[in-house]
Subunit: 510 residues, 2 copies
């Protein structure tokens, strides 16, 4: 509701969009009958926490709207103040891939956001990084043990002499040999690796490490690029010689990277990947909508935003195709999600999501409503383009990067797509972060932020307690993104911890 | 040939089994017409290095035998001293899964090998480890970054006070959430993790780390086990508290592990996993047959040996089913390799292997011959049992552990099956090793062993130069396995480098 009271005990509910006909009760323990929402109706009956309350009168058949979309229809009269749950509504069918609205939503009229900048590292190709990292690309898992060992020595022995370099990232993975490298789907992990190596945070130069006899030869990984500074283990005379070669090559890179400095760059040079993981009933109510507001601000400023997670957005596909900037983009959304349906089916998994008993208890009466809680991270901008898994973003504005929902695989694919900053919302709490780009963690509730005081970078909980509006929280996140892109360190960066990359390989191993 | 000359320049050829009708020329550059093999015929024509020469006269239709199996038939008269290649032989069809010989080979009569022991760590359940390692099991990738960080601190700050503990192994992986955990094939990665945690090298006690909200809950990972010393991140108040909890739990384990000492154990307490990777034309001629001889010695001494690598043995399936100890074991071999055929086909990969032009140039005229070069690592014992991927070995003697050929996935699955020592042959050279068990690397030729003097643990090249017989090399390897099992460190252990585990997950990610 607009202008929520700041009291902790007053009845509170959150409406995501002005056109929504329902709001979500956020008070601990829910609200009793007779409680009056600020600027809203009095409750006709008790409504549990996280559940929907009608803000207007619904006649049977009237649309129930949340996240600015129709999530179902009233099955009986549902006057303002009613508890709206799955027993009182009719559900849409799990959506197929035909008959979808194609680019039917008119782009909202928004003023450009001007004058905001961040301090980034500009690369020769015009891209801008938020960190100045030495990356070591590997063609095959065989070399990872020794590369990791060398990276530790580079950090300990060389890095202190190059203070302008933020870190050393060994791009280790489990691909490159022992895989069906000529299978059609092998294109995905290979282009993922290629594009990660070109992420703007690595200064536009790859240091490549190869074994020698692997299936994924350096020339196959980088068919159109020169491969400078290649270290091939089988060309070296043993362990000590390999380590020496890695250290020398790294030092040449460090010298070059160390000459770079940050400069003021417009937000249009920024690429941010949005994700959620360890969700709870408040993910779609506090943190994710705040991310959507920050996303809209970045897009208004000319920047690039990605949202992802196929299995989570799949049941909201009609909203995605409707918001596509053109029928062609809508068709690409259908193609990617259809491909993923087939991938799951091939593996014996029924893709049709169903709200679980836990979801319903948490207030999600509907698979579309559940998907919208994830999609809301994308804000309200038109979907300008679709990024197939492993490809790079080529269009500014809002992109749908079609990836699995797995935090690590999604993050790895967003890194390949060119993300230089990562925003991650969590309800249950996860320490997830990647090493190659700053990973901001947002909590959905304040108790998690208090408990994990040295892991959570921003608390969206004040939206639930009424201490901040969604708009205020979105603006706070936008500011934090720019500060972080300019060098402010996340908690994970301060601790020096990160998770490993996880390549998406839909093809068989051999 | 028996009693090869010790000169470097004399004609040399290797016959794997006394019943073989061909031998392989091993001299650099091959041998010219007229060269006389020791105890063998004179060459009727030039034979390239790695290629076959007839040791006896073959009439058209006569079986050509190598590795003690028929690898093809003479298509024309092939008298002793002839070059035998794919143009002069008829090839068997790529084998199907029906009409295979079931347990038809009579087990060779061998004397038990008695009196040999190694110094191992005996566990409460009767198993014996070759190392005394603190292992930290994880239920989900989310915790890996912080667990890896804690493991480094445990190594630096705690381990020096517990000198009887050999190391700290964080069992990190990319499984546990964001996966189709109810898919049929999900049983494989889950049981793999469960069984790895019970590897004898970890002293029979698991320290388990969980996030809290992951799909793979500790109770699901260990349904029949007590879960002691569980650290659950979401129960802790932030990063510093999590680290403190991990360090305290680890210290209690280290105290217990530190009280263990090595004791003399019979070879029947040893479980060795055999593998090859980065193969060359000599893999099936020097290193792999030497592994087969060591394998036979371990089996004769009552120990357990595993060989693996589905895609490499698939075309030799008839030899595997024939060597099965019973028709039931033969049927299990067919079931596992048939399952793998279907897995590859599902992923759009045609399983039928074909010898490549490179293989033929290297002397492998036939897919069965190629497979036998890998299978020869298993020696000549009957195949006592089959281990499905992720399961534990339950029978002593020779086991077929049905795994992909990928070095890391195969090694990870052999670790789950209970291997406490790993033997790895390589022709091209790879630094592969795992942290959880000593990984002995054998080179197929001496030039690799010279070049990689501080990575290769044993050189099988003297078999090619005539400086050692296969029998001598097999015995040398057997001795080195026992020494290594008793605590002798491999090169990789001395350098402190290792490769990451790679779980086999045939089910989709989500
Ligand atoms: Ca998510
Ligand atoms: Ca996710
Ligand atoms: Ca192999
Ligand atoms: Ca292998
Ligand atoms: Ca090792």
């Amino acid at each position: 509701m607009s202008a929520p009271t700041r009291s902790m005990d007053a009845p509170r509910a959150i409406r995501i969009h002005p056109s929504d006909t329902v709001a979500i009760v956020v008070n601990d323990g829910g609200l009793p009958a007779g409680a009056t929402l600020p600027d809203g109706p009095s409750l006709r009956e008790a409504v549990p926490q996280g559940h929907k309350v009608a803000l207007i009168d619904h006649a049977p058949g009237d649309a129930i709207r949340r996240y600015d979309v129709t999530i179902g229809y009233a099955a009986e009269p549902l006057p303002a103040g009613s508890w709206i749950n799955e027993h009182r509504t009719t559900m849409p069918e799990a959506p197929g891939l035909t008959g979808l609205p194609m680019a039917t939503v008119k782009a909202p009229e928004v003023a450009p956001l001007q004058g905001r900048t961040f301090d980034g590292y500009r690369n020769a190709d015009g891209t801008v990084g938020t960190r100045n990292l030495l990356a070591i690309t590997t063609t095959v898992q065989c070399v990872s043990g020794i590369v990791g060992h060398a990276a530790q020595r580079i950090r300990a022995e060389l890095l202190p002499r190059y203070p302008n370099v933020d870190g050393v990232v060994a791009l280790e993975h489990t691909y490159g040999c022992g895989v069906a490298i000529d299978a059609t789907d092998a294109a995905i992990p290979i282009r993922t690796l290629r594009n990660i190596s070109q992420n703007p945070n690595f200064g536009g130069a790859v240091m490549t490490v190869s074994l020698g006899c692997e299936k994924l030869q350096p020339e196959r990984l980088f068919p159109e690029l020169e491969i400078p500074d290649l270290v091939r283990f089988q060309d070296n005379t043993g362990f000590e010689a390999i380590i020496r070669s890695l250290m020398e090559t790294a030092e040449a890179h460090l010298e070059r990277l160390n000459r770079r400095t940050r400069e003021a760059c417009p937000v249009s040079d920024l690429t941010v990947g949005m994700q959620c993981g360890g969700s709870d009933a408040f993910s779609g109510v506090t943190a994710n909508p705040a991310v959507g507001i920050a996303s809209d601000m970045i897009v208004r400023a000319g920047g690039t935003v990605m949202f992802s997670e196929n299995t989570e957005v799949r049941d909201g596909i009609a909203q995605l195709t409707a918001r596509a900037a053109s029928p062609e983009v809508a068709a690409e959304i259908i193609r990617e999600l259809g491909w993923y349906d087939a991938y799951l089916e091939r593996g014996g998994v029924d893709r049709s999501a169903n709200t679980s008993p836990g979801n319903k208890k948490g207030g999600l009466s509907n698979i579309v409503e559940k998907a919208m809680g994830s999609i809301v991270k994308s804000g309200s901008a038109p979907i300008a383009a679709v990024i197939p898994p492993g490809e790079r973003a080529r269009v500014k504005g809002l992109n749908f990067a079609a990836t699995p929902a797995s935090d690590f695989i999604c993050g790895t694919l967003q890194l390949a797509a060119g993300a230089t900053c990562h925003v991650f919302t969590t309800g249950r709490g996860t320490p997830y972060s990647l090493e190659a780009l700053p990973t901001l963690k947002l909590s959905t509730r304040s108790d998690l932020a208090r408990r994990w005081h040295d892991l959570i970078d921003l608390d969206a909980g004040p939206v639930a307690t009424g201490e901040a509006t969604l708009k205020e929280m979105g603006e706070r996140l936008f500011d934090l993104i720019l500060d972080t892109a300019s060098g402010r360190r996340t908690w994970a960066e301060r601790h020096g911890t990160h998770n490993a990359l996880a390549l998406f390989n839909p093809a068989p191993v051999t």
